[in-house]
């Protein structure tokens, strides 16, 4: 393998290059990698920021929202002066100011059945930091059909969850639907808007998502496949629950019933 770094890159990535597990070879892998992050919010902020700092060469960001004051308690990519600005634009500015090596591809749009495959297809890894079930199911199914690794995290109140689904190796990886076959009925699970969230929980879980992505790119360590990490911020406890592949899973089971993308209703659109 051959690589050429500028003086600035040698300094910027020196702490990576020194690591025997990374080196110049690993840093080149990072610069060549393409990671897509869904949601530039509580999870996407820290994951994008660290992936950018690490020199992941292409970062895709999907978000249709604009920066609001209520985001700033946790969404560290944004700032007070950017309230009202599209989140993808604000995220792009922060990332480009941190590391000019990163090419940001901004998708200022809502993800749905007809654009999800196109958005995901050119990326190597997908990080889900979305805030609703219909999007989570759509991303999961699209990643499954396209064979892309999906690093999924969720946060609420004082709790965070994390797992990696490696759809490059579907035989050995459970999928999101093995865990949750269908979205819960609208209104059953509160959103963070309703239930609240300690801001740092997003920081912790989003940073762990970035860690999973870096390991997948570098091919080092062990990805969190078949395991669900649960973080309890009030007691500072991490627990791991085993996830098994469900033979009856409607997506990846022996007799799958889901063979194309399914779009569920957005809970917020439902009147109740």
């Amino acid at each position: 393998m051959s690589f050429q770094f500028t003086e600035e890159q040698i300094k910027r990535y020196s702490r990576h290059i020194i690591l025997p597990e990374v080196g110049g070879k690993g840093q080149k892998k990072l610069l060549d990698a393409k990671v897509l992050v869904i949601g530039a919010g509580g999870l996407g902020s820290p994951s994008l920021y660290y992936l950018a700092a690490a020199g992941v060469g292409t970062l895709g960001i999907v978000d249709f929202d604009v920066v609001d004051f209520s985001n700033l308690q946790r969404q560290i990519l944004h700032s007070t002066e950017r309230v009202g600005m599209p989140k993808v634009e604000s995220a792009k500015k922060t990332i480009e100011a941190l590391n000019p090596d990163v090419k940001v591809i901004a998708f200022n749009e809502k993800i749905h059945k007809n654009n999800v495959m196109d958005i995901i297809k050119d990326f190597d890894i997908v990080l889900d930091g979305s805030d609703n079930f219909p999007t989570r199911f759509l991303i999961n199914d699209a990643c499954y059909f396209l064979g892309k690794p999906l690093v999924s995290a969720a946060i609420l109140r004082f709790e965070g969850q994390l797992t990696t689904f490696d759809y490059r190796n579907k035989e050995n990886s459970p999928c999101y639907r093995c865990l949750f076959p269908e979205p819960p009925p609208p209104g059953l699970v509160p959103s963070c808007q309703e239930a609240g969230l300690l801001g740092v929980v997003g920081g912790i879980m989003g940073t762990l998502q970035a860690n999973e992505a870096l390991k997948l790119i570098l091919g080092i360590g062990e990805p969190l496949v078949g395991k669900l990490l649960v973080f309890d911020a009030l007691h500072t406890e991490f627990n791991i629950v085993k996830l098994r592949k469900d033979k009856k899973c409607p997506l990846c089971g022996e007799k799958p019933t889901i063979k194309e993308l399914v779009e569920y209703e957005q809970a917020c659109d439902v009147r109740f």
Binding site: M1, S2, F3, F5, I10, K11, S14, I17, I18, P20, G23, G24, K25
Partner: protein, 80 residues
């Protein structure tokens, strides 16, 4: 004593830790096993640190020598 054949040379005068090691490592990574690299250093702490880090990475340090007033050479053979 037979003179070691040198495949690559790297003049790191003016460089300090950890960049002396970082730059040496980047060259070593792109060499073939068995090939040798000669590094010139004028920053004394690097004379200890570069060989130490190279050994930690599994490379073989063939020679560390003072060759002038505030000038040292380190010769490393790539193992892996």
């Amino acid at each position: 004593m037979e003179k070691t054949q040198i495949n690559r040379e790297l003049d790191l005068r003016g460089e300090v830790c950890p960049f002396t090691f970082v730059k040496s490592k980047l060259i070593i990574e792109q060499m073939e096993p068995g090939e040798t690299l000669r590094v010139l250093l004028d920053y004394e702490p690097s004379v200890e640190n570069v060989p130490k880090s190279m050994r930690e990475e599994g490379q073989e340090v063939l020679d560390v020598k003072k060759i002038g007033e505030n000038l040292w050479e380190v010769i490393v053979r790539k193992v892996k």
